[in-house]
């Protein structure tokens, strides 16, 4: 990385990136644990995920403060400025991802232990796709690797396809079993949350690309849009 004459400036940028990475790590673990709580119907774990979302929110505030401080006191230029702006935006996106994980955890008590809805058994696979995207984009951020970021954004389509198929399955299931519509609707929202996490991972990828290259990521071919 570039060395700055002012060591304090250098320290602040490093700290900013560290905070983002920590925040991302927490969001990543929130998704994994929310889905684990769902598949095991573990209410305690679900409650922990909800409670720990506060920490993600606090980190967002800390990042915002530090980014604003850097911008006002150091007047960063070129890649430093891009990095700071990207950090600010990434923090906002990761905060949303944390909220989606929290939302999944909040729905866990609504799914009965004996639920036989088939979509329940495929949601973990979808969650794995989404959380892999987040993990890889955070790795791309850590390494400032714009190629890895492009690779992640290309994978969003798989998550969208997954969501569309779960949507259709659940819709059919609801029509055939009106008694379970409540539960099925919760599962549908969970699938939607995961789909949004994939979208947001793509947003982070675009920011990583922007910070590294100074231009916007070229538009990619989009698959069938999510319903």
């Amino acid at each position: 990385m570039t060395d700055h004459t002012l060591k304090a400036f250098d320290d602040e940028i490093v700290e900013l990136r560290g905070l983002i990475s920590e925040m991302g790590g927490r969001a990543e673990s929130a998704i994994d644990r929310a889905v684990e709580a769902l598949s095991r119907r573990d209410l305690d774990l679900a409650r922990t995920v909800v409670a720990e979302d506060k920490r993600i929110d606090e980190l967002e505030i800390a990042i915002e403060r530090l980014a604003v401080q850097i911008m006002t006191l150091r007047a960063p230029m070129a890649d430093d400025l891009r990095e700071t702006v990207a950090a600010l935006k990434i923090a906002g996106v990761i905060e949303r991802i944390g909220d989606y994980a929290k939302n999944i955890a909040k729905r866990v008590p609504q799914i009965s232990r004996s639920s036989k809805i088939e979509a329940l058994s495929v949601l973990p696979a979808m969650a794995e796709l989404a959380s892999d995207m987040l993990r890889d984009v955070l790795n791309a951020f850590a390494a400032r690797d714009w190629q890895a970021a492009v690779e992640v954004s290309n994978r969003d389509r798989a998550v969208d396809d997954f969501y569309n198929s779960i949507f259709r399955t659940l819709l059919t299931f609801m029509m055939e079993n009106p008694a379970t519509i409540g539960e099925a609707a919760h599962l549908l929202f969970i699938a939607k949350n995961l789909e949004r996490i994939g979208d947001h991972a793509t947003n982070v990828a675009e920011m990583v690309y922007f910070a590294a290259r100074g231009e916007y990521m070229p538009d990619r071919e989009r698959g069938e849009p999510a319903v």
Binding site: M1, D11, V14, E15, R17, G18, L19, S21, E22, G24, G25, R26, E28, S29, D32, E52, R55, E128, D132, R135, L138, N139, A142, A143, R144
Partner: protein, 366 residues
Amino acid sequence: MRRPFASLVGALRRGSTERAPAPASPAPAQPSAFELVEAFGDPVLVVRSGRIEAANEAARKLLGSHIVGEDVRIAIRHPAAAERLTSSAEMPGGDPIELVGLGGRDSRWQMNIAGLGDDRTLVHLVDRSEGHAAERMRVDFVANASHELRTPLAAILGYVETLDDDAALSDPATRKRFLRVIHDEAWRMHRLIEDLMSLSRIEAEKFRAPETAVDLGEVVREVHAVVRDAADPRSRDVVCDIDESLPPVAGDRAQLSQLLHNLVGNAMKYGRPGTPVTISTGRGPGSMIRLSVEDEGEGIAPEHLPRLTERFYRVDKERSRSVGGTGLGLAIVKHIVERHRGRLDIRSMPGKGTNISVLLPPARLS
């Protein structure tokens, strides 16, 4: 694992007065902290006030070479690690932390942290993935085996119950059909248990390489004779091509015969009826001796090849069941080959056929 870590911490503490990156000073007589860290095979990081000051080769390989100079949270995102490693946290130390998903989704690392007496912290990562994978494989195996045993048993119980019904008894044709099913399923269970037992026998002996000189041609002829005597019409398609000049291999006769039975059985089951199944022997690369079984059938798609020797892995579950497979045949073959210090080679062309070759070491001349 903790002991080398403790000695490294001790060495680094002693050397902590000589600030390591000192370009002006001549080469120190004692190895510097950085050299010590580099000598360590496990990933090791030196963290000063939350920033990575040094990372050895293993750590750079695992976490990326960009991490030096970065915040430690860039390298290790795990929430528990972040709490313990950032400068604001209290004095590091204490119990190791379990990290899941570092480097790969299913990987597991144990993180040991030790303070170095100044504002530096030593982070040592120990790979725990393998133990975990082995444990999971064992659990999977028990679950699979119980499932495989339950399937025929459920059929037997069901048909016995139906036979108990007077209506079924009165019709001799139905009764005969039911008894046939019970008989077949009982035999399937029998085969499965036999296979499970031979697997565990072979595994128990795996560290003792067999040394008896075995004439491979003789084994082939013997297996061929047994197959020919069986009632299966497909056995007429089996042809042998034996190289009589081959030296004997170092082997276990009974196990080699079982290996060949499994391979020929598979070729007969999965090759197209009427096409030949060829057993051949010859000289392989180097001094190895080759035993091959080739069929002309649908072949196996490439994505299945790496998993073929897994226990209970089946390319086509329904088909394997209908031809009476246990799902253990190739797993047994693999274990026998491993015990013989040999090599297993599976080549398959979808639509054309499959060739399975086993390379065995020759017997040592006494």
